[in-house]
């Protein structure tokens, strides 16, 4: 038996080959080239040693010199953790959401690629959306219980229990909303994070995130993410998500912070968007089940993102 035909070697080689095909060499190359732009860790140690030596020498000499020694940037993970803590505080924030869907995907699904803008209000992980699309103003939101509601106008509202929501509608909510705390946790858990700013005082913190190869086969929601954070409060000022569906790029969603203003609690519920004389279509009224289902399906057609 030749070396090349050795069955155990063949099994091991095949095992390594199978593991190798799951590696995204392109992303690794990008990470390596990005790392080269920043100071390597060993140089940090060298600088730290030099800095410590300088400080000791300066103290002995009767003066202290901290002049131009480099200040290490806080790690991207640490910043995102701080942002997560900052967003846990129940403050109302309004983001403008711009969506640019992937034309190829939508063409294949026989849906026109559209670009839309709407407003998203968040408080921790609660949200509601307000839009003026198609000339009609409507709002929708999801309560912490999982219920989804629509205020088609000030006079008419619909409520769907979590069991009635269905996958397309759940996917729509997932696509257009941003649960900031959950999303930041997801980034910390599944992504490699990089700082893209220089760390100058007052400079907006810019962080980019790439999905780790080991999470690539798990139908991830995002491929690449860009964050811009306030350098002091660590609040997300702008977030750009490359959304993925079934492993394919679906589009780019950009969230831009518009304002931070206190909102009444009821704005996160349907009643906050209806007048007193409203008509309500909810699961408690069995005679209107068909209309609710029809509305849900027509709504999905209208927003043109029924992806299934």
């Amino acid at each position: 038996m030749t070396e090349a035909n050795d069955p155990l070697d063949a099994i091991l080689r095949n095992h390594l080959d199978r593991a190798a095909v799951t590696v995204d060499a392109g992303t690794m190359l990008r990470h390596i080239r990005d790392s080269e732009k920043t100071m390597p860790r060993r140089d940090w140690l060298k600088w730290a040693g030099i800095g410590a030596g300088t400080a000791v020498a300066a103290s002995v000499g009767g003066f202290v010199f901290f002049g131009n020694s480099p200040v290490p940037l806080a790690a991207a993970e640490q910043i995102v953790n701080e942002a997560k803590t900052a967003h846990t505080v129940p403050t109302d924030r309004c983001y403008e959401v711009a969506t640019e869907w992937e034309p190829l995907l939508f063409r294949r699904l026989q849906l026109p690629a559209i670009s839309r803008k709407h407003k998203l209000w968040t408080r921790g992980d609660q949200f509601w959306i307000e839009t003026n699309g198609d000339g009609a103003k409507w709002a929708m939101g999801q309560e912490t219980s999982g219920k989804i509601w629509f205020a088609i106008s000030r006079k008419r509202g619909l409520v769907y229990e979590p069991s009635e929501v269905g996958e397309p509608l759940a996917r729509f909510c997932d696509l257009v909303s941003m649960r900031v705390v959950s999303t930041l946790s997801e980034l910390l858990e599944q992504f490699t994070l990089y700082r893209k700013d220089t760390g100058q005082p007052g400079e907006t913190i810019r962080i980019e995130a790439d999905l780790r190869p080991s999470f690539r086969n798990r139908n991830p929601r995002f491929g690449h993410v860009k964050l811009e954070l306030d350098p002091v409060t660590k609040i997300v000022q702008r977030a750009e998500f490359q959304r993925q569906l079934n492993g394919e790029p679906a589009g780019t969603l950009t969230f831009t912070l518009l304002e931070t203003t206190s909102q009444p609690d009821e704005m996160y519920t349907l009643l906050g968007h209806l007048d007193a004389d409203h008509e309500l279509f909810d699961p408690k009224d069995p005679t209107r089940q068909d209309r609710r289902t029809k509305f849900r399906d027509e709504f999905l057609k209208r927003v043109q993102i029924r992806i299934k």
């Binding site: 069955p7 690794m28 780790r212």
Partner: protein, 181 residues
């Protein structure tokens, strides 16, 4: 660095990264740590790209750096105590039942039976044996393996012999009764 040289190095990274990462993962079991180590090793080699001819000799240097880094990491992180159980055949298993780096059940199901068997058989080997037997499978000579791991060729022979004996015992059903040297 001129453009052509930079492109040449990029091509070298793209060509070698999959296998280098797979090798590091097999030594560490934690894919994130493995990727970090591989990335770090590439950066260190690229810093000396003017000294080494990486597109030609780089793979061996890279494997050497990865092997050293993985062994160092495992040595540094050796737990205060180990959970050891002994199988019916007398071999010691050091799998920590609380090991959070172990693949979850759904991930395990993605691999076929042979892959699972190979993976679990490799996990029973000490890191140096694992490195030696895999480098041999990748076609490296004993002399090259000795340079990569940083031991003598005699020791490489011993490591490979022991590793193959252990693997053969565990993978016997998949080897079709072929003799293992």
């Amino acid at each position: 660095m001129n453009g052509d040289r930079s492109h040449e190095l990029d091509a070298w990274i793209l060509a070698t990264a999959p296998r280098a990462t797979a090798y590091a993962r097999s030594l560490l079991r934690n894919p994130h740590e493995a990727e970090d180590i591989v990335q770090d090793c590439y950066c260190r080699l690229l810093a000396k790209a003017d000294v080494y001819d990486l597109p030609h000799d780089g793979m061996r240097l890279l494997l050497r750096a990865i092997t050293n880094a993985c062994i160092n990491l495992k040595t540094r992180r050796k737990p205060f105590f180990r959970l050891v159980r002994t199988d019916a055949d007398g071999s010691e298993q050091t799998d920590d039942p609380l090991d959070k780096t172990a693949p979850p059940p759904d991930e395990r199901a993605m691999f076929d039976e042979l892959s699972v068997a190979v993976e679990s058989a490799l996990r029973t080997l000490p890191t140096q044996q694992r490195a030696a037997v895999q480098l041999k499978a990748l076609g490296h000579s004993q002399q090259e393996i000795a340079e990569i791991i940083g031991i003598t060729t005699t020791n490489v022979g011993v490591l490979i012999y022991r590793a193959r004996q252990a693997l053969a015992a565990r993978l016997d059903p998949y080897l079709g009764g072929e003799a293992i040297r």
